[in-house]
Symmetry: C2
């Protein structure tokens, strides 16, 4: 009679960021913010906007006020947020899913690997992307309006793990920005970086990425590297 | 009677890239290329377009054909180039000079430090940017149409050094993309990287940057680090 096998590590679950990770929307967000800033008379170089994408809108606006060296009125802050949303939705027709995104989600589902989506965007902004990805009802989606604090705070990923019923330490966070990877560390999860949001690999590694891939298609090709045994 | 002082190193000259280095135009170029590609039925993720900005248009199109895995007809290649130019010029009204760009050029001029501008763009595309920078007649400007090969070939910077009458080895190339820094190495010049085109510092260093600054304003604040003694 053989002894029972030791129970081993739990099967990994995946917590996905949305913009720049599953859909190719980062640059549309960048240009929408840039347009909103110009409309409010605020000059900020476009690359500095790019580096803030994916972080909480509130933190973005705080950092902005420090960078431009003056406080903005509540009215201006509200106007910026509103103009960004309208500018993004106007550009959303040009947003497509990233290569391999749908296939990756389908492969995980076929394999019984659980996943959720956690985004710093609001439900309204995330909606067209979720539609394009054909994300089913069974997949937990945590948006900005459902938690107190967005990335780099860990709340979004913690809520997503909870909705899946997994410990964060048994989950991989997949994201394109340093904010995702910093939030992953704070949530106690391993981070996987994707280059599809425009960051370089060294920056993602420096923010804690356990592995870096080009985009969802590249991650799908290397799923074994993160311990997913695919159904053959 | 004192001996003559040894003649020492020549005073440095500067060879500036234009887009992303002196003017904040990289993201407008990215979106114009993206729009041109979509119009021609070609899907390429936006971050991949971003990473090609600043390289020769011909090399960009060669790399594109390899990435999408098929050849494009001469008619399509011409259409892409034309649509990119029109799309960029349509967005050029939103392009501004980068912080410190005019002040940096003025400080160099006041100091008797010679500089030239060398861009992978055509004269037509470069023109609005040169106007905004108030670049005088005395400053050599080398555009794509004046040399056989653009970056990462060294021709643009070699021609710019020649127009200044300096050896490339006595010049700094200032650029925001890895293509500038690779071209600098091939020209035998030291490269200075700026983050204002959206690359991370590690990538610019890996491509050979001798120093990396945030933008022209940051370079201006640290001119002594590259051996420029400012008039006091």
């Amino acid at each position: 009679m053989s002894e029972p096998r030791p129970s081993g590590s739990p099967r990994p679950a995946f917590l996905f960021d949305l913009d720049g990770t599953l859909v190719d929307s980062v640059y549309q967000h960048v240009m929408a913010w840039r347009e909103a800033l110009v409309a409010c008379g605020i000059e900020l170089s476009v690359w500095r906007v790019h580096r803030r994408i994916g972080m909480s809108g509130g933190l973005f606006l705080n950092a902005l006020q420090r960078e431009i060296g003056r406080s903005l009125s509540q009215q201006t802050l509200t106007e910026l947020t509103e103009r960004h949303m309208q500018g993004y939705l106007r550009r959303a027709g040009g947003v497509v899913t990233l290569p391999g995104a749908r296939q990756l989600l389908a492969a995980l589902a076929a394999n019984g690997t659980r996943y959720a989506i956690a985004t710093s965007g609001t439900r309204q902004v995330a909606w067209p992307a979720l539609e394009m990805l054909a994300v089913g009802e069974a997949v937990p989606v945590v948006t900005r309006d459902m938690v107190e604090r967005a990335k780099p705070d860990p709340d979004l990923f913690l809520a997503a793990a909870q909705r899946l019923g997994v410990e964060p330490s048994a989950a991989f966070v997949v994201g394109d920005s340093v904010w995702d990877l910093l939030a992953a560390q704070r949530a106690g999860a391993l981070g996987i970086g994707l280059l599809s949001g425009g960051y370089g690999p060294e920056e993602l590694q420096a923010a804690g990425a356990y592995r870096v891939y080009q985009d969802p298609a590249d991650l799908l090709e290397h799923l074994e590297e993160v311990g997913v045994r695919q159904a053959s």
